[in-house]
Assembly symmetry: C2
Homo-oligomer: 510 residues x 2
Amino acid sequence: MSTTKSSLIRLHAADNVAVARVSLSPGAVLSEFGIAAKTPVPMGHKIALRAIAAGEAILKYGQVIGNATRAIEACEHVHSHNLAITDLHLQHEFCVDAVAPELFPEADRATFLGFKRSDGRVGTRNYLAILSSVNCSATVSHAIARHFNTSGELDGFPNVDGVAAFTHGGGCAMDGRGEGYAILTRTMAGFARHPNVGAALMIGLGCETNQIPAIVETQSLVAGPTLRTMTIQATGGTRKTIEAGIDAVRTMLPALNAQRRSVQPASELVLALECGGSDGYSGISANPALGYASDLLVRHGGTAVLAETPEIYGAEHLLTRRAATPEVAQKLLDRIEWWRDYVRRNKGDLDNNPSHGNKAGGLTTILEKSLGAVTKGGMSRLEAVYEYAERVSKRGFVFMDTPGYDPVAVTGQIAGGCNMLCFTTGRGSTTGYKPVPCIKLATNTPMYERMAEDMDLNCGEIVTGEKTIEEIGQQIFDKVLAVASGERTCSEQNDYGDYEFVPWQVGAVM
Amino acid sequence: MSTTKSSLIRLHAADNVAVARVSLSPGAVLSEFGIAAKTPVPMGHKIALRAIAAGEAILKYGQVIGNATRAIEACEHVHSHNLAITDLHLQHEFCVDAVAPELFPEADRATFLGFKRSDGRVGTRNYLAILSSVNCSATVSHAIARHFNTSGELDGFPNVDGVAAFTHGGGCAMDGRGEGYAILTRTMAGFARHPNVGAALMIGLGCETNQIPAIVETQSLVAGPTLRTMTIQATGGTRKTIEAGIDAVRTMLPALNAQRRSVQPASELVLALECGGSDGYSGISANPALGYASDLLVRHGGTAVLAETPEIYGAEHLLTRRAATPEVAQKLLDRIEWWRDYVRRNKGDLDNNPSHGNKAGGLTTILEKSLGAVTKGGMSRLEAVYEYAERVSKRGFVFMDTPGYDPVAVTGQIAGGCNMLCFTTGRGSTTGYKPVPCIKLATNTPMYERMAEDMDLNCGEIVTGEKTIEEIGQQIFDKVLAVASGERTCSEQNDYGDYEFVPWQVGAVM
Ligand SMILES: [Ca+2]
Ligand SMILES: [Ca+2]
Ligand SMILES: [Ca+2]
Ligand SMILES: [Ca+2]
Ligand SMILES: [Ca+2]
């Protein structure tokens, strides 16, 4: 895999095609590969690195994206005219690509400075969370958080990262035995006991479907010194509840402020992988570089959480091949089946085939398109599949079933326990998600330069040939450790995260 | 209809049953009705005001709630043992109860002080709205609003009620040709051109499904001096967009501040009717009193907008009987059919029959239960049925198809052009909804007293016998005029409305 000063990006050593960084004319010399272009190859399109026989598998990202539909000469343009998915059999095999991660020796494992919590998990931030059970208590929740964020009262608590309100548009007029209710309670509980949340206050109206006592009981939370609850109706209205909430937060702040960072193994990092506002570069720069970092984290004993089921739809067999057990593979296929039903019931369309624009950009098959998204999860064995907002308990590379929509996906990943987030973007997504720091990875240099105050790292240097995927991947890994230890990201400096808590709303609003 | 100092509440002059305000023992004398209880009648339950023959219709709210299943003596308890729906035919007739409203003579029509807008509509408040097309621009939108609400910069603009951000959890990863997208764009457009919004700024990220240029074009909005638009990606990131947004608001404030209240006819009022956190008193105090005020407004030439389809479900024929035309009746039934499908597709349950608790509280039939909700729309002829967030253009009493869930229902009503809101509550809902003032009507005195800072008017005096439905209804009407003219409600004093914009999310989140 070499990209420096080349006109080509070869995404994996086993690949028999590479991607043209620039438009190539016939005869263009590609020195380090010892080849010259035989045909015109548009920017972002594939070129054969050697002769490929008819029927032979085409490899990109080290994985099969289809087969040659005729003999392809070395240095020829590879696209719809000579590449298609012809052998569906291969991709349906469970676990055939699953290789146990080669963990680094204990002594070589990376560390960071984190907040060790009483349940053994480690936080990368130290927040007090105000969780609203229903939209009706959103204003009260924000008013309490605003008091602390504007009064200067937090100045006396330097080890507290903030008091943040997590409010939403749901919580009532929903089926109290349905999937949507289960998702909402799981999400709220996941935030309440999140390792980045040292103390929490849950506030309801009182008469909502999403009753706080039921959340506490069914989710095995423990109300006490670090989890307080109240309702507006029982407290006697808006002003009294804001005052009572401020008092409750005040009683929790000293213990929260007493928490200190200490040296912790990188194996305590649970990294959410996300992309939003993707472009034609996502699959060749930021995503594979993040995949490299993800694999590194797994080898340090940590956890990486891929998500966004619609992004892998139609190519889920890429992941089942990497599944550690047939049960893990089957659980993923079961979730895919659920999605087919969900979208059909909602009269939608889950087509993930390359669009006309994708094809013009050089993507030929659905496997190739999905690989561009999946590659941010690296190559590691798939250890587990989780439902939305389910607590992530396995280490290594895992998958969580979420929509692709950024705030909904990330809310689920955070609820599952992710304490770090890397977010690749091509068009320029600027958001962030309390209580977890979000590292923004730009796929291209022009966007990085235009939105420098919002982007933490430029993966566009892979596209320009200044850096390799491995070099940028290592930078991402180092950045994850630094940010986990307290370095603030762009989205934290821009104070994102007060409006991006969006639990997946499934089911009818009644 | 007389309730003062009585133990009974008779909801309509034509009724042959009344509701016991207190538990009645046999022999309890009910002087002004000239009767004495024959059997025990629990509080909230019905008592026969005269002998009722077997098969005869039982009338409450002046409408049929079922038929006597056996002969009922005067002063007997009326409930499941002697009342049921036996004649389904009656309720299915279209338009039979439709009577054209008796408008007051022009000279006697009420007026208020409102902001006359260039399109002829009249505002009751004068807001600048910041509308976010997608969750990704929520933080930027709130940051711009926060600047004006905390910097003191609005002090120079005393005729501006506020700069408010309307943000939400949707806007992307949705079907761009689906119902959910149509609802979202209609809702945003309804707020952008709302008579209470004198100027608006729409902010997007840039790459979202819910494109601002498409909203402007399909919804026939006109970008210009009172409607500015921008995206974070085109503007160059978070900080630059906040600065550009602040500048854009600054350029719009002088013209907004130049708007003045003037005397306007009450016919320009479009009153949203809503209930939330209902209790056993809702149907006998606040809701019928609001219905009285609603009928008054209609007679003054104004508009009242009933909503919350699930609350009338199973008894929609109560409204089709009042429909002005068969087309209006049929449109309501079509929406009910849509709801059956919506809930079935979402694996929910739309059962609106009286629950065990409802029955214990004295509600016998689904017609009676639905009438308790419908009664806040008074008795007037049903002039039109609107889909969610559709612009209300007919005057008089109309219906909008919305969920029962308060923030979603009210968001739709406001998008439709409602410039006033009356909200009945028994348990104590405290919320409010910018840019429209919300008058909170308490159904019972204990809650009113416990939450006095959140409740604008106590309809519990009907339950205690201190006031009649007509007296409280008149108070509500007078309060609507006062608030429309600028008097601030409890929820405005408590600064609700920055987190309660919740467009109905229909369809899959992908
Ligand atoms: Ca995404
Ligand atoms: Ca920065
Ligand atoms: Ca903040
Ligand atoms: Ca409601
Ligand atoms: Ca405010």
